[in-house]
Symmetry: C2
């Protein structure tokens, strides 16, 4: 239908096999909009694949597109010096990239780096701005999402300050699994260390500990989550606080 006709395909075999509803439903932010609005938005979007380690935004650079991840996910990263680099938040199908455009600033505040490859709906920045004006439901939704993002940043800041590397690693793995929809994750310790803002050794120790406790297994960048409940117990409460907050804010949004 409309939706499919307007897709700009690079290689979208997967996508084209799915019904429009399914594809749309993959992004929770869009999925909560009225069907009509969803169709309109898809008609001005394209479905793209994004790849591991792609840099979607750089700080102070113009935002060209906004993204609504389906099964991909992306991290906002702040970098001061070489070693002073840390993840601020993680965006998957529950959110979107470039929401700050709604605040009237055309540039990106942080790095946005792809963590999990997959597909995302992509829209030009100008288009997004226009659709924000045209679709009140979208505007409301994006605004609420910005509120959630602010909270995630705050939670993450406090977590970084007070919680141990092991707890933070557990939390990070859980968040990643939620967005990757898979029990296997491809992540090197080197990479994890830059996400958590610690040395690789710190990750190594924390991972060993989680491994000893039979919560995960890993080998050469392949991490398996063996015991999700145990991992939740090993993580700091920030994981569940975050999830809870998202639900409480975004669900109220759809009710309103």
């Amino acid at each position: 239908m409309l939706t499919i006709l307007h897709i700009n395909t690079n290689d979208l075999k997967e996508i084209t096999l799915l019904s429009p509803d399914t594809v749309l439903g993959k992004n929770r932010l869009l999925a909560a909009l009225p069907r009509k609005d969803q169709q309109r938005l898809v008609s001005v979007s394209e479905c793209v694949d994004i790849h591991f380690a792609d840099t979607i935004y750089e700080p102070d650079q113009k935002i060209r597109h906004v993204y609504f991840p389906c099964d991909s996910f992306v991290s906002y990263v702040k970098s001061l010096e070489k070693r002073e680099r840390v993840e601020l938040g993680m965006i998957g199908s529950e959110g979107m990239l470039g929401a700050t455009l709604a605040l009237g600033v055309p540039t990106a505040p942080f790095y946005a780096i792809v963590q999990g490859m997959g597909s995302a709906w992509r829209m030009k920045a100008d288009t997004f701005r226009k659709e924000l004006e045209a679709i009140p439901a979208l505007r409301r939704r994006v605004n609420r999402y910005l509120f959630v993002l602010l909270n995630q940043f705050a939670q993450n800041a406090t977590c970084m300050r007070f919680h141990l590397v092991e707890q933070r690693l557990a939390r990070w793995l859980l968040m990643t699994q939620d967005r990757a929809h898979s029990e296997t994750l491809h992540l090197t310790q080197e990479f994890l260390s830059s996400m958590l803002g610690v040395r690789r050794v710190g990750v190594s120790n924390a991972a060993s500990s989680l491994h000893e406790r039979k919560l995960i297994s890993y080998s050469r960048g392949e991490i398996h989550i063996l015991d999700r409940q145990g991992l939740i117990a090993a993580a700091c409460p920030c994981y569940e606080i975050d999830n809870h907050y998202y639900d409480s804010i975004m669900n109220k949004a759809s009710a309103a």
Copy 2:
């Protein structure tokens, strides 16, 4: 006039002597609006005094009023456990409290605790919402401010993660001085420790060091800043990055 836009926060005395609508000019967010809008906003606001240690907002509680500080200033504070409490950002005359209302969420995300007593323009939450609709310039301004806030949170998070207590203390004092418009600050170490999220001993050591370096003097909660330039050098770059960012975003806003 334009001069008002370029006020250095350090010498606000000038302003109080200046003109009749100086009261408004004391809040930089409002001061950047067209004169007409300023007058309208004042007509639906009241000027109130807020006092040290007042709790303006609590997390998940409804926001009743928004505040535009004149010479007062307030901290956003996140608190997980008893000891796990830290300042997320500081709001003075350069910003406002309750900006998140513009995102359509009626509740406050964090504690807001008064650091420096003084006056502020106060507006009912409903009024603020209506004025946001009615005054596009206000909406643009508030949105841009939210963008800045998001950045401040990010900067602060990274700073907390990587920088030493002494650097962070120096930065905090500078930020406070900017908002207090005074060289004397009343702050106990106990209080500072909960702002920086460290032990009081940590503050004590850091303060001793700054004192030895003749950058500050202090006694029983009275802190004097002796050498502002030296303090800037002792602080992490986050201080200047923050200021720079504010200017670059908010000044563009007034141009637009």
